[in-house]
């Protein structure tokens, strides 16, 4: 009975929907975006990437920018592999599915694991942040500078435990670089994200850690920050030396870049539109204010700059990582 009563309006609605979809398809290029856009975050809610992604996209619904909101969808797992694999293979290419990227994480994974993505699977849109890795030790640690740390490690190979946010994330890369540059051996402890890795150091469960500069900055009362893995000192921590200043040749390859990509195969008009709008949106005073208040370092880069950065990082990591594969 009920079926008959509803059938006419239902059929009409379906017809209308079908019509709209066809029309929508035709007009997509001009009117994009005409519905909310989803953005895949490959880490769990509450992590640094998730929370910054929510800040930098908060103005997407503004008329000045996209006039459509961006909805965050978390697909965590295996250090981001689950989300990026899904995005590269199943993400829609119509411009309504974006993803956040983390460099060097996704590039290192694409070298070390049989992933379904590499830098050529994604179309860069823009970069919003750069968070260098810093070497941290517990407050009561005997290490007061990089020299103490390296001297101890030389005498006790493998005895220093170093926590980080997971396998082949920036923190891991920094650990590998430090081992190589100083000629020491450390024991890297991969944790499920930066927050538990930080906790292990604060509680003295590990002897040291690499962690995000922003998180270390917020926790500096309970830590000692020995060095920053970047080319210059950071404005948040002007007293902390870079590794190079401390005499160890570790560059900025582990800096955690965060930004937005489209899947390969997205229409050039859509890429162009987003690549124009996003850097402006990231640079909005309101966004910058929230980022600053939350202690999240901003680095806005355009599509061209991101493409160049991807290529540079891939080249460097291809040099650093295969040696490791052989060691195992």
């Amino acid at each position: 009975m009920a079926g008959k009563r509803f059938s006419k309006p239902l059929a009409a609605a379906m017809l209308a929907a079908a019509l709209l979809l066809t029309l929508g398809g035709l007009a997509a290029a001009q009117t994009y975006p005409d519905k909310p856009i989803s953005m895949i975050v490959t880490y769990s809610p509450g992590g640094a990437t998730d929370f910054q992604a929510r800040i930098v996209t908060m103005l997407a619904g503004d008329k000045k920018y996209l006039d459509q909101p961006i909805v965050i969808i978390n697909k965590p797992g295996a250090g981001g592999q689950v989300g990026w694999n899904w995005f590269a293979t199943k993400g829609s290419k119509d411009g309504y599915t974006l993803a956040t990227y983390n460099v060097p994480h996704f590039i290192a994974q694409s070298i070390m694991y049989p992933t379904k993505y590499n830098i050529h699977a994604f179309e860069a849109v823009a970069n919003w942040g750069a968070d260098p890795a810093v070497l941290i030790v517990p407050k009561d640690s005997p290490f007061n500078n990089v020299k103490d740390f390296v001297a101890f490690a030389k005498k006790n190979p493998g005895k220093i435990t170093v926590s980080g946010a997971g396998m082949y994330v920036g923190h891991h890369i920094a650990t590998l670089q430090l081992e190589k540059a100083a000629g020491i051996k450390l024991t890297y402890i991969p944790e499920k994200g930066g927050v538990p890795a930080m906790q292990s150091v604060v509680a003295g469960k590990v002897k040291a850690g690499f962690n995000n500069l922003s998180d270390a900055f917020r926790n500096q009362d309970r830590l000692k920050i020995l060095a920053v893995a970047d080319l210059e000192r950071h404005e948040f921590l002007p007293k902390v030396p870079t590794f190079k200043e401390a005499g160890i040749n570790v560059d900025n390859s582990s800096v955690n870049y965060r930004g937005v990509v489209l899947p390969k195969g997205a229409k050039p008009e859509i890429i162009k539109k987003l690549a124009e709008v996003f850097p402006k949106m990231f640079g909005d005073k309101k966004v910058l204010g929230k980022m600053k208040a939350s202690g999240s370092p901003v680095k806005i880069m355009t599509r061209d700059q991101v493409i160049k950065m991807f290529a540079e990082r891939e080249k460097y990591l291809q040099g650093l990582l295969p040696q490791l594969k052989k060691k195992k």
Binding site: P45, F51, I73, A78, V82, T161, T187, I189, A203
Partner: protein, 508 residues
């Protein structure tokens, strides 16, 4: 404490109160929707707080956190599907009560116990934050490994039937938890199908294990004559239930204390607080066999525990920036956005906002109970829904809830697959709770064992790392006691049964 009273009135401004009430009502509905866990609900709301005053934004998040935890009990009791992992234990006795026509009473028990537990947790938080923060930091890989193991010892008690089947179900859950990429080495394990690459996430598993068998059994019985159970609104039972509930001192206090302790332990979260409290109350009960058949004490224990967890789970967050539960991790984002960095500074420079937040959490407990009780009056309408319509509605909710977690069809496939297996398992006497517990604890145990092993090898060695230290020894003793007691009561029950048969034989 003084500051707490000083800033308490701030939570009472009209706008904050309005947000509190709306957040609570919304949270109850969100919590009652399977799949929309407290973590999801809070994550969805964080962006809304960008445009609010810091205090108001936090009041909203706090109210939603509190009420979603309790709201999950509504679906657990009425349709036998826990709204979130925290509510699994609620269902064990809550749903049998509902089937006996006492849904409203079960819900009253649930909200009153939530209030008691929640307030207990908040009091502990207000008075003992600094020492508890120190304890929270003590939990490293070895301690967490033993905590997970303790949770595993609880599994046997979660089935009303055979202990062996409880343990086997738990084993199955542990095996499921290792599907997907290994957390340490990044290698895929047991990924026979493409849909399994991401592993089996907890929410799809939870919904599948509980909802799908429920749908099947609803369909089985849909054409049979229904039992004569009246599903009328029960009038005038509120105050009687209130008094009855408060008399269950043992269940309430065990639930509240267990919930508080689990809340402080970072990473364990409220997911297991309800189950562990339920098991303890059952063990200390004079009549453990009535659990699982509609004993109100089961509901009281589970709900007082999972709400007691809310306050303490914020202790490590507010003082050390270490979230005690997945939801607290999302709240951390909500704090950071307003430039509130957890740590001693939070209580000094931002005392006003911080204490307003804490005060609103206390008020949220009261609001949650009030609105929850009000909603319970309409629970009979859900129980009156005919089985076939109910089966359809549950299916829709299950698919919707599973899909919404990460917009993934794979999860829906996993949900139906596991659910079908569980339906068959239920036919031969397995129950779903130990399986879910296995899935939750397997990951915690594995991660921490591997982490501990790596650390131990650079340090004092495996044995010394896991078997020395006060905290390790205390938790190991608890594990031993739990196993010992289960074995003892099994043996006693066996002997009793044997004596009875002998007596019968002698009698005949």
């Amino acid at each position: 404490m003084l500051e707490f009273l000083q800033y308490f009135p701030n939570a009472l401004t009209p706008i904050n109160l309005l947000v509190l009430v709306l957040g609570t009502i919304g949270g109850l509905f969100l919590g009652a929707t399977p799949g929309l866990s407290p973590t999801m609900a809070v994550a969805l709301l964080v962006p809304f707080t960008f445009h609010m005053e810091p205090a108001t934004g936090l009041v909203l998040l706090g109210a939603v956190y509190t009420s979603t935890v309790a709201g999950g009990a509504i679906s657990a009791i009425l349709i036998n599907i826990p709204g979130a992992p925290a509510n699994i234990a609620t269902l064990l006795d809550g749903h049998p009560m509902a089937k006996q026509g006492q849904a409203q009473k079960a819900l009253y028990f649930c909200f009153i116990s939530s209030l008691v537990g929640g307030l207990f947790g908040m009091v502990i938080m207000v008075f003992f934050t600094p020492p508890l923060a120190e304890i929270a930091l003590e939990f490293g890989p070895s301690e967490m490994f033993w905590v997970a193991l303790f949770g595993i010892t609880v599994m046997a008690g979660l089935t009303s039937g055979s202990v062996l089947k409880g343990l086997l179900g738990g084993m199955f859950g542990l095996l499921i938890s290792v599907i997907g990429y290994s957390p340490m080495l990044g290698v895929p394990r047991f990924v026979f199908l493409d849909v399994l690459t991401g592993g089996v996430a907890i929410v799809p598993a939870l919904i599948g294990l509980f909802a799908v068998p429920q749908v099947f059994s609803l369909m089985e019985t849909a054409f049979q004559q229904r039992d004569e159970v009246s599903f009328k609104p029960q009038k005038g039972i509120l105050w009687r239930t209130f008094a009855e509930n408060l008399k269950k001192v043992k269940a309430l206090s065990i639930g509240s204390v267990v919930g508080t302790i689990i809340g402080v332990i970072p990473g364990a979260g409220g997911q297991v607080a309800g189950l562990i409290a339920y098991d303890q109350v059952r063990k200390f009960s004079r009549d453990p066999h009535s659990f699982g058949t509609g004993n109100p004490e089961g509901v009281v224990a589970a709900e007082s525990a999972n709400n007691a967890m809310v306050g303490p789970s914020l202790i490590p967050l507010l003082t050390l920036s270490v979230p005690g539960s997945p939801t607290a991790a999302v709240l951390l984002g909500g704090l950071l956005i307003h430039g509130l960095f957890p740590g001693p500074d939070l209580f000094r420079s931002h005392a006003e906002v911080t204490y307003t937040f804490i005060a609103s959490l206390v008020l949220a407990q009261v609001a949650m109970c009030g609105f929850g009780l009000l909603m319970s009056r309409y629970s009979h309408t859900v129980m009156k829904v005919p089985d076939l319509e109910m089966a359809a509605a549950v299916t829709v909710l299950a698919v919707y809830g599973t899909f919404s977690v990460q917009n993934s069809l794979d999860d829906v496939v996993v949900m139906f697959g596991l659910g079908t297996l569980m339906y068959l398992g239920r036919k031969v006497g397995f129950s779903a709770a130990p399986v879910v517990l296995g899935i939750i604890l397997g990951t915690i145990a594995e991660d921490n064992f591997l982490k501990g092993k790596l650390i131990a090898e650079t340090d004092v060695g495996l044995f010394k790392y896991f078997f020395t230290g006060h905290l390790n020894l205390i938790i190991i003793a608890l594990c031993a006691a739990s196993v010992g007691y289960s074995t003892y009561s099994e043996v006693r029950q066996y002997q009793k049964a044997k004596a009875q048969t002998r007596a019968k034989e002698a009698g005949s």
